[in-house]
């Protein structure tokens, strides 16, 4: 198991050639000069990093909102926020965390790492990638402009009609929310297509389906879930927006519409959404577990099949959000069974990680600590999930703080802990420097303890009858001191979060130099310098196992002949990853930005004047003409002539 490449000596002709290729690649992949370097980049590192940073900015905003909610609930009959601002605040918290943080940050991690992990230079459609980012950031800013101008959405992150409909939510608040959905889901869908094409077609030779790193598998499965789930919420938000702005009657029972239809369509998206957030995190867990136990994760095939099974079952659960709506019992039973069944693939994965830990050689660094925290918290969340799959118990727990506790255990424990662990793990790759281990461990323990102090008492509050989304409660209910405990816990989490950020910022300047592979980790991103060059690999590598660097030998070939004078990657076959053709990809371009602005013009304008959607579409046609303007006018020679 060797992780080092043979260093060629300076007298080697191969070395000279490599230097020449490297110089040419540097030139080909360089950013545009000046201000254009900000507006035109399409390399996946820059777009991925922007996604991650933007998502964390939104997470901070969502975190501040959470603290505001907790301050309001500190004591009974508190007047800190009042009902109007409280409703906006918790709606913004949920919306931000689900749509503007959790999904985009996972997409961002994937956009940054997947091309490196599969051994290529960029994603398959770089300009589309940039376009998706701009849509996301515009949608997020749009929502927050609303919030800061007292137009913050206030109907909850799932905006049930009729409350969110034209009759009970006049004004523009819900319109801002619904249109933000359109922006972010559009963006998420594009990223998903992007990742599918990238993972299917641009893998390094030798990386057949059974050698894809588990994080990449997770992103592939997640992307398919996005493709089939997110259209539902776009349809739902479009129906809602049309009911509100042009007077259709989808959810108006007086004219043949039905409010429950909203819940069906929304949760057909909303439940898979949870797995869209969670599945990438599973990939991160496998990655970290493998690197810090010096073993491939036990049961690779079982892990992959579990991911796929989770994705499939995830589409059959949506009705368990609607057990209290009075659906027929038989139907509800089916969804109970399906909801319990999803515990099986989750269990398989937990057992496989435990087996890997048990049989591995453990280095207990911060990333692995977060994974242990993940197992602790996620198992609790998963078990409460099994409990509320049961219709009778759910009828008591539904819409109470028990549910709030459950989904924070699943989403923070299941997704954010692995995410932070993964950020520590990949921190040397992002920055070229090591994070501070001491601060890292402190931040873990503070966040872990704060998390449990915050969310564990919520189970009890829920069983004691406290519904969610209440802006206050009477003193005689006996909920006060548990709420105070929760608020204290929230502050502790915030302290841990600040330590994490301090660590990230300070270490970026003063951390120890990491070198290409500080963990002796198995995947391809560790074979290149840290931070990675814009073109990733001078020569596209080849791969022999899913732990590519652990099985690498000196006679393992590299790929030459991919052009270095323009941005080009190697396309391989979908199953066995045999080289298929060379695939030129786009370079820097201003058009993704312009197109996103024309699309935004139509979307935002239509909130105020529905007909503007057509003006926006018209402008977008022009933007697309610019985007797709072909560069060559003569008929090219057959390829073989090159």
């Amino acid at each position: 198991m060797s992780t080092e490449l043979i260093e060629p000596t300076a007298t080697d002709p191969a070395f000279e050639r490599e230097q020449r290729d490297r110089r040419e690649l540097e030139k080909t992949w360089a950013s545009e000069p000046g201000i254009l370097s900000w507006l035109t980049p399409t390399t996946h590192h820059i777009i991925g990093k922007r996604y991650i940073i933007t998502a964390f900015v939104f997470m901070l905003l969502g975190g501040i909102e959470a603290l505001m909610v907790r301050i309001q609930l500190w004591r009974p009959e508190n007047h800190f926020l009042g009902p109007d601002l409280y409703n906006q605040t918790f709606t913004m918290h949920g919306t931000t965390m689900m749509f503007l943080f959790a999904v985009p940050v996972m997409e961002g991690m994937a956009i940054y790492f997947v091309p490196m992990m599969i051994g290529t230079r960029n994603v398959a459609f770089p300009r589309l990638n940039a376009f998706a980012y701009y849509l996301y950031v515009i949608g997020g800013i749009f929502l927050y402009v609303g919030f800061f101008t007292n137009t913050g959405a206030d109907a909850g992150w799932f905006s049930y009609v009729p409350l969110s409909g034209p009759a009970f939510s006049p004004g523009k608040r819900v319109d801002f929310w619904a249109q933000m959905i359109t922006f972010t889901e559009f963006s998420g869908l594009i990223s998903a297509v992007e990742l599918v094409a990238t993972i299917f077609k641009l893998r390094a030779p030798g990386m057949s389906l059974n050698r894809i790193p588990l994080f990449v598998w997770a992103m592939l499965v997640q992307s398919f879930m996005v493709i089939f789930a997110m259209p539902a919420v776009m349809i739902a938000s479009t129906f809602l927006l049309m009911d509100r702005t042009v007077g259709t009657h989808f959810f108006n029972p007086a004219e043949g519409g039905d409010p429950l239809m909203w819940q069906h369509i929304f949760w057909f998206f909303g439940h898979p959404e949870v797995y869209i957030i969670f599945i990438p995190a599973l990939g991160m867990v496998s990655t970290v577990v493998s690197a810090f136990t010096k073993r491939p994760v036990f049961g690779y095939t079982a892990m992959v099949l579990s991911l796929i099974a989770t994705a499939f079952i995830g589409f059959g659960l949506w009705v368990h959000h609607m057990f209290a709506t009075g659906l027929p019992q038989l139907g509800a039973s089916f969804f109970t069974a399906a909801s319990m069944m999803i515990a099986i693939p989750s269990g398989v994965q937990i057992f496989c990680w435990l087996a890997t830990l048990w049989s591995g050689r453990i280095t207990m660094k911060t990333p692995l600590l977060y994974i242990c925290g993940f197992i602790f918290i996620f198992v609790i969340g998963g078990l409460t999930g099994v409990m509320i799959a049961s219709v009778p118990f759910d009828l008591q727990a539904h819409d109470t703080f028990f549910i709030v506790a459950h989904f924070h255990y699943v989403l923070i424990g299941g997704a954010v802990f692995p995410l932070i662990g993964a950020i520590y793990y990949w921190y040397p790759k992002f920055t070229g420097r090591m994070y501070d281990e001491y601060l890292g461990k402190w931040s873990f323990w503070i966040i872990f303890i704060g998390f449990n102090i915050t969310f564990f008492p919520m189970h009890i509050l829920g069983l004691k009858g406290m519904p969610r989304r209440v802006y206050t409660y009477p003193a005689y209910m006996g909920w006060t001191w548990l709420n105070q405990l929760v608020t204290i816990g929230a502050v502790i989490i915030a302290v841990g979060g600040i330590i994490f950020l301090v660590n990230v910022f300070i270490s970026a300047k003063s951390g120890a130099i990491a070198g290409p592979d500080p963990w002796a980790a198995p995947t391809l991103e560790w074979s290149i310098s840290s931070p990675p060059p814009k073109y990733n690999f001078v020569y596209i590598p080849t791969v022999r196992s899913e732990s590519a660097l652990w099985t690498r030998t000196n006679d393992e070939p590299v790929i030459t002949g991919v052009r270095t004078d323009r941005r080009e990657v190697l396309a391989t076959r979908i199953l066995d990853a045999e080289p298929d053709h060379r695939y030129p990809i786009a370079g820097a371009s201003i058009w993704p930005l312009i197109t996103s602005l024309t699309v935004a013009f139509g979307f935002i304008g239509s909130v105020f004047f529905p007909s503007w959607i057509f003006w926006g579409a018209g402008l977008t046609v022009f933007a697309f003409v610019g985007w797709f303007w072909p560069k060559r006018t003569h008929n090219e020679q057959p390829e073989a002539a090159r």
């Binding site: 094409a197 007077g247 989808f250 080289p579």
Partner: protein, 202 residues
């Protein structure tokens, strides 16, 4: 120390169908659109099953003749689209121009017929939930359809302006399967919107 290498310079730089990343991108986009139309149809079915009288009183259904004729022309327009993509694979600019032009002409005829059908409806999206879902299905599909035609026209303009090369070839190929899709997805939509309401018992 000489590292073994595999030289790929001889490999082509264009590929079609499942060998091409662009094809997978298109499949992804079409899967999204198919999901959207599937959900629109599900919404229609959901609303339909909650009502006893469908379509609601006062709604008169268009005669089946024009929609059916239109559907037939739409299906026929896939043929020139197919030949255009074959011409693209064979790198024949004349073939691409001719077949794509024929495709665009047929498509524009169907748009005209659809305009006529739409104008003949005696209800709007604001009348009731039936009107809302039917107009939305028509609207979404028309949007998609017109976007497809604009794409074809754009490519056609470039072809006649003398542009050629791999990008255009890929674009013509891409255009053909997006076209098959917008036509194919219309078949169930046509059945739901125009045929199903004729059988109020079902």
């Amino acid at each position: 120390m000489i590292r073994p290498t595999i030289d790929v310079a001889e490999l082509p730089e264009i590929a079609f169908t499942e060998r091409s990343p662009l094809w997978w991108g298109a499949i992804g986009m079409l899967a999204i659109e198919a999901t959207m139309f599937g959900l629109l149809m599900s919404a229609y079915v959901y609303l339909r099953l909650r009502q006893d009288i469908w379509p609601p009183a006062g709604v008169s259904l268009p005669h089946l003749f024009l929609p059916t004729l239109n559907l037939i022309i739409m299906i026929l327009s896939c043929l020139p689209s197919y030949y255009a993509s074959e011409a693209a694979k064979a790198n024949s600019p004349t073939g691409m121009k001719f077949w794509l032009l024929l495709n665009v002409i047929l498509a524009l005829i169907t748009v005209g017929i659809r305009w006529d059908i739409w104008n003949s409806l005696n209800y709007s999206g604001r009348s009731n939930a039936y009107g809302s879902i039917v107009w939305t299905i028509l609207g979404f599909h028309t949007f998609d359809y017109v976007a497809g035609i604009l794409e074809s026209i754009g490519i056609l303009v470039l072809l006649f302006a003398g542009y050629a090369g791999n990008d255009i070839r890929k674009a013509v190929d891409f255009d053909s399967y997006t076209w098959y899709f917008v036509v194919a997805i219309w078949i169930p939509l046509y059945a739901v919107v125009f045929v199903w309401p004729l059988f109020p018992k079902f």
